[in-house]
Subunit: 346 residues, 4 copies
């Protein structure tokens, strides 16, 4: 690539926005030059507008960038959206209409049949929906979304197993507090505690999964049933989940492990810069994966799966883990952009 592609970030000052900035600042293809946020931040240098909360320091080059408002047409063609759903509802379609390619982490349009809900390893072909999107939405740009941070872990671990015919899935999550943003979960609620409820999360896991695994660009959902229990635990980063699956066929545990271990997707074929290879790390250690030890693997982009064994009620059970603010948020959108660039549709 001879020249870097200029990109912007909508909602650059929040926690997901900071993850975008941190990762884009060292990206080989993209050059993050436009930082947009709410009017309150407009005109301020990024260093003072964004209360930095990552354990890696703020990239030096970003400190003095002046924050702009989220006005369509101002920034570069490609913009990543770290907006919350309330803001994304309004702003993302305006950007897409104005010719921007919006790569969104917000939940607002994930289930819109005209918007790809993308995990590049799983359903790269769903980008085909963009033709209809352009036509029916009358947008000169485009809008592509990535799934909820729990969904992406589950679905990545399910995708290689479609060959066995997935009939049903029961998943119980143990989710990190960073998934709730900042200030997010009060410490009094979660220190030494478990909160067995996350608003809207179970519904997202139960519906998004089937769209992503589905056919016809996601318009025909995958014919399975998912039941989710979602829980918050006192962990900073990394969503861990126990998964039980019923299959049509009756694969041996070893076949399931092999399918996960050998799985590769379009990002690995295309050798995209942030694609983890392999995308799924299968561990034989009896007490892994664990968020503190495994969430950062593959630079935060790999999904870890362990404890693959027979489930006496359904067919197979295991533990899956992924980094919720990297693979489950900013990193996901960036990989979507890499895929689109490599496929020539950015």
């Amino acid at each position: 690539m001879t020249r870097k592609i200029e990109v912007g970030v909508l909602g650059a000052t929040g926690m997901v926005g900071q993850q975008f900035i941190a990762r884009l600042a060292r990206h080989p293809w993209f050059d993050v030059t436009w930082f947009a946020a709410s009017e309150r931040s407009e005109g301020k240098p990024y260093a003072s507008a964004a209360p930095w909360r990552l354990s890696t320091p703020m990239p030096e080059a970003c400190r003095r960038v002046t924050v702009d408002a989220c006005v369509p047409g101002r920034g570069p063609k490609v913009v990543f959206s770290a907006l919350d759903a309330a803001a994304a509802d309004q702003i993302e379609p305006q950007f897409a209409a104005a010719g921007h390619v919006v790569l969104s982490n917000a939940r607002s349009f994930r289930m819109d049949p005209l918007v790809p809900l993308l995990i590049p390893e799983v359903n790269a072909d769903h980008l085909c929906v963009l033709a209809d999107q352009k036509k029916q939405k009358a947008w000169t740009g485009a809008l592509v979304t990535n799934p909820n941070c729990s969904t992406i872990v589950l679905t990545s671990a399910l995708a290689p197993l479609r060959q066995f015919g997935i009939r049903s899935v029961i998943v119980s999550t143990m989710q990190a507090v960073s998934g709730a943003g900042y200030p997010g979960v009060p410490s009094l609620d979660i220190l030494g505690n478990v909160v067995p409820f996350i608003g809207g999360e179970e519904e997202k896991m139960e519906s998004e999964t089937l769209k992503i695994l589905g056919s016809n660009g996601g318009r025909t959902p995958y014919p399975a049933v998912v039941s989710a229990h979602t829980n918050r635990v006192p962990v900073i980063d990394g969503h861990t989940m126990t998964v039980s699956i019923a299959f049509e066929s009756a694969p041996e545990t070893g076949e399931v492990a092999e399918a996960l271990r050998t799985f590769r997707g379009r990002p690995q074929e295309l050798n995209l810069p942030t694609a983890p290879d392999p995308p799924i790390l299968v561990t034989d250690q009896p007490n892994r994966p664990q968020p503190r030890l495994d969430a950062e693997l593959g630079d935060g982009m790999a999904i870890s799966v362990g404890r693959i064994r027979a489930c006496p009620v359904l067919s197979t059970k295991f533990v899956a883990l992924g980094h919720n603010t990297i693979r489950g948020a900013a990193g996901a959108s960036i990989l979507n952009a890499e895929l689109m660039q490599a496929e020539g549709i950015l």
Copy 2:
């Protein structure tokens, strides 16, 4: 009751032993007079032999009691066993043979068909096995066990639902570190982390549950299948678990809630001193039960159930919670003893 019954504790210096001492020291029926432990502690005053780790202070009256060795025949007739399995394997049968009634929290004999595995609310009738036990073991005393700390939470929540015909259960636990004793789980393993494995725990939940819910004194297991995922989380006390159940019949969510809410067992009928009433607390709050807020309810003896709702894969799902070192250990054995006393077989 005119005079208190003298009781002893085997393994009095460990963490479960401390829980026994703390609870027996304020018990209306029992007078804990005999503290037995390993030879290392023999002859020492309890205050110096037991490194106290509970947040309630050591009962004053116990500080100067001299610790004895675990020698059958020495202590009172009724002894509670807080021994670990390796010690219990040898010592508990010796005590039962020597005429003691042993109320054990150890796993050693739980699955022995001649030993009741008791939750007084659930299977008080399993005490009928003691007749055969006496005969076939040629013991002049008796041995009664309580379940594993996770099993007791799950099984208590399942028992009222037998009327709907339980076919299968998938449970995923989030267990407190106190369940592993002291020193137990290293802080480096669990601070800000999840460990998705607890040795032997899944097997115990899958087998003990069916014995307890079974018939013929537990010798005919309940005809269901249980699949357990067990996980350790950074919580001090209280095991939380998500539960999905398939029923023969198709009860409404409201019927399931009502069955749990109105459930009463033999301890409530007999008005036993430490029996929680009701035994199961059903909450309508959307984000409960939580270990920090709910584990101590019913003086640590109540099981809390919340978020009762339909499971799209099986029939019904909910969250259950109980205090693992009280309802799941010392408190369980003490309630067993109360039941036996009230039934005239202590």
Copy 3:
């Protein structure tokens, strides 16, 4: 006492307010009948207005009490104030002017020379200021405050040592998150972390301590210097602090321990219902006090001191600990009220 005294709580729905309600609901002298809060809560039953966050359940009798607005003259004569400083600035003087005796936990008037800043064990005589308060403020009621939650721990441990002539104190705190209220400290800030700053806290410890230990009703500060380092740590309840003290005289470590151990104040003389006896628990265990094990001692009202030893730089050093939301907030105000009642000035 033949009849209970009716009392009210200003700011009854917040976290400190909940602590007031929980403790007053089981108080032998006081009958909490009036619950006041912001207009948003007015007219609602307490159970729905107050999102209960304590691990002890909401007292049954309080659930249906209708919440009133904070309007002077409406409630009983005696009111406890759990208001935050912004609200207390306005509302507390209005209540005192209207004839209420206000027992406040807010910081607003602590340093007012006409307002007693009271720890009943330490400076019960500072109530003498109330005569001047009445005169100069032209209030028909009265206003009495208790110190900041860190100050009360430090000052309680210093008071018995005034006999040795305190010259200077360096204190470094490790404070619980409950001290910041709800939602308070975001979990992302404090999980597995230390925040070495609490806004305004060091100033309060450095000034309040000298007023409380001072003479002339607190109008002449104690002639010592205090230097505070305040830190937030991931603990739910209990402020721990390391303390180094320079004395005029040169007491032996044993003399310091003895002075703390034998200390008794006016609440112990008067045998007030919630007065801990002794007020200061001196421990010889090498690794105590610890918040999880010791904060609840004396029903949360005792201060624990341990590790008393020589300080090579100043004279003596030790560790002190107290429960910040009980001894350091609601419990402190209630003990103030008990003292005033026993002294005949309520």
Copy 4:
């Protein structure tokens, strides 16, 4: 440097040993080829002998290295020692006698007047002791130590302030659990808790500091007094400490900040590969440094200092922070080796 220097690690399988391996595996000057541990591990491949506990994965090249026993003469000339004190007492002198240059993290010989206790930024000149060491110990090799993990943070922050004449220091630490090794601190002791005691730690901070800051190769201690309070808190990595200092002269806060900010030592002059530059990061943010955000700065080798302000009792106070298993252990020994190599005495 044309060829890498072969080095070995004594105690390679423990937690500090793993830190050595992880850091040496990517070192530009050293090639870690010899892994020594207790006899139990001898002959095993490193991957199975060392239960890896770091969040960065085990270096691939190390997995198959066969672990050797700690026998002098077997490994390369330069060996790093991650032995615990009991083992180091015996083994380190044997290695030094046999011609090895031992760079030790153990406490065993730190206070030996013939052994340099080194922080390269602070007392590089103490290497002069090695001449006497060779002579008087009759060793053909050498032994160089680094300080305790708390001492190194404190002393690094004090060293630039010697120009103001340090008279006394009161330090109160909040130390991470990784400082206690594995299994180390039981989770039941530290979850949601503070333990205000770490065996031997206060003595080490009070004595080691003065040797390091001292003259004559550390044989004349620095003429100041240090008083330490050491506490364990639920943090994984990073020791935070509050520090109050009395100076001979009366520097302004700004002068103290400037002295820290502009400080450079021999490693920065020599541009040693793992020397942080600057060695001390002074922050103006009001609530920093914090272990979760700042411990990893400078690749874990920088010391962070913040909240520099006047101390009303002594002269100046601030907060200091460093990574205890990197700057406070393995990284310290490695920097010592780099210094010796650059100075031509390895």
